[in-house]
Each structure stands twice: as structure tokens, then as C-alpha cells.
């Protein structure tokens, strides 16, 4: 267990104590914080470890949300529905990955971005199954008062964050992580030494999607109503990237810190500049990219973790 991983686990443990300090608002922010951290950690697997800039996060978030929503509507218990989202997203992403990950750089970025559009349109048009543009109402999963509901969903999201973090740490230290690192540095050489890069990349893509999809499922059960433009929002694809860039590409601790800092900024901006909040977000992104290209973690003792190499 490295020092950094330990720090990450401690950070996550601290977050668990949130319900002791705040009411409904704190729980809401806390749940979103955990969700953002899951996004950032997941994106980091394919974007940071493997070096493939994926814009597909929103596609799988939405897919997972709808998968769980539909299952819940059919009477399936919440835990089963959420695991259903996890498995479906993993399989779907791994399969799509074998095709899309043949592309590099810009082309891969656009293809992954298009996934969001295609999924959204497909869901929009499958009105019988998903309710189409009208949205999907999701039955209440537990029913003992607002605060208990909020606490339950906070811990559900927090639990998922813990699982995601542990999986990421295991991957990072494993042959898979080492292989992804090789792929990021030199994919040609990786193939030449016997690494099946298509398999490794696809698994990475699958892992980057499954926890995001599960988070989508929890989100759907939490908010009780979803519609295509709400969950298949491109911003859900861009925000994890900004968080990862803020915190430091490649480092799990870094991206989680990035997620929390980003959320903090988002809340502050929302409350004070609601009309121009997306403009302020834009300014933030630009400042970040121009002045802190290696993320916050690069400020730590003047060294930087992973250079954002040519992806």
C-alpha cells in the first residue's frame, strides 16, 4: 500500500463522516461529490493510465441511469438493478472499445463524443421502453422520510466510490495497469513485446464505464425522474476531464482531489453567478489549462506526476 493510496483511502473515509455535520443540503452536495469522484477515477483509467482521451462518460452515465430506471420500473430490487447497470455497462463498453479504441487522438475523442449523441438519440426514439423525450419516472426505492432517503443514497454513492477507488488502486499496481502504462507511452512497442493492446484497452474502457454506469443507476433512483437531455449531457463527459486535469492526470489521489475542488468551485459559482455560471466555468477551464497544465498535484514539492503526453 503506497503512501498516496493510503492518503486516498483516508480522504474517502473522511467523506463518510459528512452526514454527521450537515443536513439535507450537505448530503446532496456530498452525494454529488462522491459521484464526481467516481467519474474522475473512472475516466482516469482510460484517459490517464492508457492515454486515450475519452469523451464517452456521459454516454455510459445515461445508459446506466436508464438501465436501472427501466429495471426498477419492472419491479426489480434496487441492488439487483444497480448491479445490472454495472454488468451491462462493462460488457457494452468493452465490446464498443474493441472497435473504437483502434482510433487514436482526435478521432477517438470524436468517436467517443459521438457515442453520447447516438445513445441519447436512441433513447429518445425508443419511447416505449424509455419514455422518450417525456422522461422516465422511477419508483421510490426506500420510503422512510426525506432525510433517511438522502442518507441512504449518500452512503450508496459513497460505497460505490470506495469500491471504484479500490479497483483503481488494484489495477494501478497490477499487470493490467503496467500494460496500460506501456500502451500510453508507446503503443507500437507494446504490441511488439507481446502485449495484446486491443484487449487491454477494451478492458480499460469497460472499467471506465461500469462504475460510471452504476453511479448513473444510483443517480436515477435518487432523483426519481430522468430524461435524455438531462443524463446524456456532454458536460458529464467534459467535467471529469477538467477534474482530472485539475488534480493531475494519472494519479488517483490527484483526480479525486480535483473532483472535490471542482465541485466546491461549481457550488460557489452556481450560488453567486447563476446566470453566467457556464461562462465562469469556461473561464475556469481556460485558466486551468494555461496556468496549471499538470494539475494541482504538480504544486506538491515541485514535481509532477504524469506529463500529459501526446495522446
Amino acid at each position: 500500500m503506497t503512501r498516496v493510496n493510503l492518503a486516498l483511502l483516508i480522504l474517502i473515509a473522511c467523506v463518510a463522516s459528512l452526514p454527521l455535520f450537515g443536513g439535507a443540503y450537505a448530503l446532496r452536495v456530498g452525494t454529488i461529490a462522491c459521484m464526481y469522484a467516481i467519474f474522475a477515477l473512472s475516466w482516469n483509467i482510460v484517459g490517464g493510465f492508457a492515454g486515450y482521451p475519452s469523451f464517452a462518460t456521459a454516454a455510459f452515465f445515461g445508459f446506466g441511469a436508464y438501465a436501472t430506471g427501466i429495471l426498477l420500473n419492472k419491479g426489480v430490487p434496487l441492488s439487483v438493478a444497480v448491479i445490472g447497470s454495472l454488468v451491462m455497462c462493462f460488457l457494452l463498453a468493452t465490446a464498443l472499445g474493441t472497435v473504437l479504441l483502434r482510433l487514436r487522438g482526435h478521432y477517438f475523442a470524436i468517436a467517443s463524443l459521438s457515442l453520447v449523441e447516438v445513445f441519447r438519440e436512441l433513447v429518445n426514439n425508443a419511447t416505449d421502453l424509455t419514455g422518450g423525450g417525456m422522461g422516465l419516472n422511477i419508483p421510490l426505492a426506500s420510503g422512510s422520510g426525506i432525510l433517511a432517503d438522502a442518507t441512504f443514497f449518500f452512503y450508496a454513492m459513497w460505497g460505490l466510490l470506495l469500491i471504484t477507488a479500490v479497483v483503481v488502486m488494484i489495477v494501478s499496481a497490477s499487470k493490467l495497469g503496467f500494460g496500460l502504462n506501456c500502451i500510453r507511452q508507446n503503443e507500437t512497442a507494446s504490441n511488439m513485446v507481446g502485449l495484446n493492446s486491443t484487449l487491454y484497452k477494451s478492458v480499460a474502457f469497460g472499467l471506465s464505464a461500469c462504475f460510471v454506469g452504476t453511479a448513473g443507476g444510483i443517480y436515477a433512483a435518487w432523483v426519481h425522474y430522468i430524461d435524455p437531455s438531462d443524463v446524456f449531457d456532454i458536460l458529464y463527459s467534459v467535467k471529469p476531464i477538467v477534474m482530472a486535469l485539475m488534480g493531475g492526470l494519472g494519479s488517483p489521489l490527484g483526480v479525486v482531489c480535483g473532483a472535490f475542488v471542482y465541485l466546491g468551485l461549481e457550488e460557489v459559482v452556481w450560488r453567486n453567478y447563476i446566470q453566467i455560471h457556464s461562462g465562469v466555468l469556461g473561464v475556469l477551464i481556460i485558466m486551468l489549462l494555461l496556468f496549471l497544465p499538470h494539475g494541482l498535484i504538480s504544486l506538491r514539492s515541485g514535481m509532477f506526476w504524469r506529463k500529459a503526453k501526446h495522446v
Binding site: K175, F178, G179, N181, C182, Q185, N186, T188, A189, S190, N191, M192, V193, G194, L195, N196, S197, R306, K307, K309
Partner: protein, 249 residues
């Protein structure tokens, strides 16, 4: 001598450019085959075709009894085909040790990172890079990077090793050193195919020479004979070299 690699009428074209034309050649176990020819003759393309980087447009490639015409690069690697690149391809951020460990790790499923790193040390020592084991590959000199490339290729425990211009960019002392290494490898029983422009190295090390010109095999045989072959002299060696050679007898 048993045949380890056989190419049968292998051709490769790139939309209009015929890079390889009906190449038929065998490589026997334990040989050191020199592959020479002018630039653009198709030597690297031939290696790429065998190793699965760019599949053949037609023809059959057989390795160790198996048809490998359509295998992917990583599969060829695991079957025992290993190569160095003309323009070295290290994992720039990794240390020299991890570079070699990666090769040992992925070419043999079932290895662990720990055992791969141990093996890597031995290979680094063989090429004389043990002092640089913990240095990042990006900080090594070109000569060292070429040796690192060799160490990586060896870590794969290949049956057949392709050396693609290992001596390009090296000075005389470095070339001497590289040649000694190749001798040691050949003595160890690895079959080697080397693409090389330095004739003195070729004549020093190779047991057989094949000559490619415009994608076609124009000569294949004992070094002494091939360098006297008029077609080879015309296409590649040049009259001056032939005369100097004849004078030496």
C-alpha cells in the same frame, strides 16, 4: 539444418507501390542471415510483414511449422519472433529496467512483474547496461538506447531475432561492441536476420546473405559469392567496392 522460417511468394503493395514482389526465402535454425539492399528495397517492409505489422498482400509465411501470414503483432511476438526497430522505440518514461521487464512480462503469459524485473537485470547486464538500470530511457544516449532495444528483444526469449540496422548512428567503437554482442547471441543458438548497411559487419557476422532490390530477391547464398554477384554489385555495392574486394582476393 532445419528450417525455421519460410516465405513463399510473399508480396506486399501499398496502393500502387509494390514494396515486395514474390519473395521466396528460407531461414535455417542457428543461421545469421544478412539482409542487404539499397534504401527502399523493402527490407524493413519484409520484417514488418513477417512480424504482423503489415500483413502480406499475398503469399504465405510459415514460422516453426505454423502459418503466421495473418497473425497480429503481439501474437507473432509470443510465438518467438522478436525485433529491434531502426528508429528505437523505448518506453520513454520507464527506467531501462522496466523497459526490459515489460518485454519479459508480456511475451510470456504467466510471468509476474516481479520475476520479469529479475530477469530484466540479467539481460541488461548482458548488453552492458546494468549501471543504467534505474535511469529513465529518455535520458540514455543513442548507443545505449540501441542496446536497450536489444535487451528488450532478448528478454522475449526469441527463436528468431530481427535486427534492423542496429548500427545506424553508432561510431566505430560502438559498432565493434554491438558486433561482439551479436557474435555472442549467434553462439548462444538464436537465429538472427540482420538488416545492415555496414558491409564489414555483414561479412564478419553473417553465415548467409540475401539481397533485396525493388522488392525482389536478387541474390541469396554464401557471403563470398553474393558480393561478387554482378547484379548485386550493380544494384547496391557499386563497382568501387567490387574492385577493392577483388584486389583483396
Amino acid at each position: 539444418m532445419s528450417e525455421i522460417l519460410h516465405l513463399s511468394n510473399v508480396s506486399r503493395h501499398f496502393s500502387g507501390l509494390q514494396a515486395l514482389r514474390d519473395v521466396t526465402i528460407s531461414v535455417n535454425k542457428g543461421e545469421v542471415l544478412g539482409l542487404i539492399g539499397p534504401n527502399g528495397a523493402g527490407k524493413t517492409t519484409l520484417v514488418n510483414t513477417i512480424c504482423g505489422v503489415t500483413p502480406a498482400s499475398s503469399g504465405v509465411v510459415t514460422f516453426d511449422g505454423k502459418d503466421i501470414t495473418w497473425v497480429k503483432t503481439y501474437q507473432a511476438a509470443r510465438l518467438g519472433l522478436s525485433r529491434t526497430f531502426q528508429i528505437v522505440q523505448p518506453f520513454a518514461e520507464f527506467t531501462a529496467l522496466d523497459n526490459v521487464a515489460a518485454a519479459a512480462l508480456f511475451s510470456h503469459p504467466g510471468e509476474s512483474l516481479k520475476s520479469a524485473r529479475e530477469e530484466a537485470r540479467a539481460h541488461l547486464a548482458f548488453v552492458g547496461l546494468d549501471a543504467q538500470a534505474n535511469q529513465s530511457a529518455a535520458t540514455l544516449t543513442l548507443a545505449m538506447r540501441k542496446r536497450l532495444e536489444l535487451a528488450k528483444a532478448l528478454a522475449m526469449k526469441p527463436k528468431l531475432l530481427f535486427l534492423d540496422e542496429v548500427n545506424a548512428g553508432l561510431n566505430s567503437a560502438e559498432v565493434e561492441r554491438a558486433t561482439k554482442l551479436i557474435h555472442q547471441l549467434a553462439a548462444g543458438g538464436i537465429t538472427i536476420v540482420m538488416i545492415e548497411h555496414l558491409m564489414r559487419v555483414v561479412l564478419n557476422v553473417c553465415t548467409r546473405i540475401a539481397v533485396l532490390h525493388n522488392g525482389q530477391l536478387i541474390a541469396d547464398g554464401q557471403p563470398r559469392d553474393v558480393i561478387k554477384n554482378p547484379a548485386v554489385v550493380d544494384a547496391y555495392l557499386g563497382q568501387q567496392y567490387a574492385q577493392r574486394n577483388a584486389a583483396r582476393g
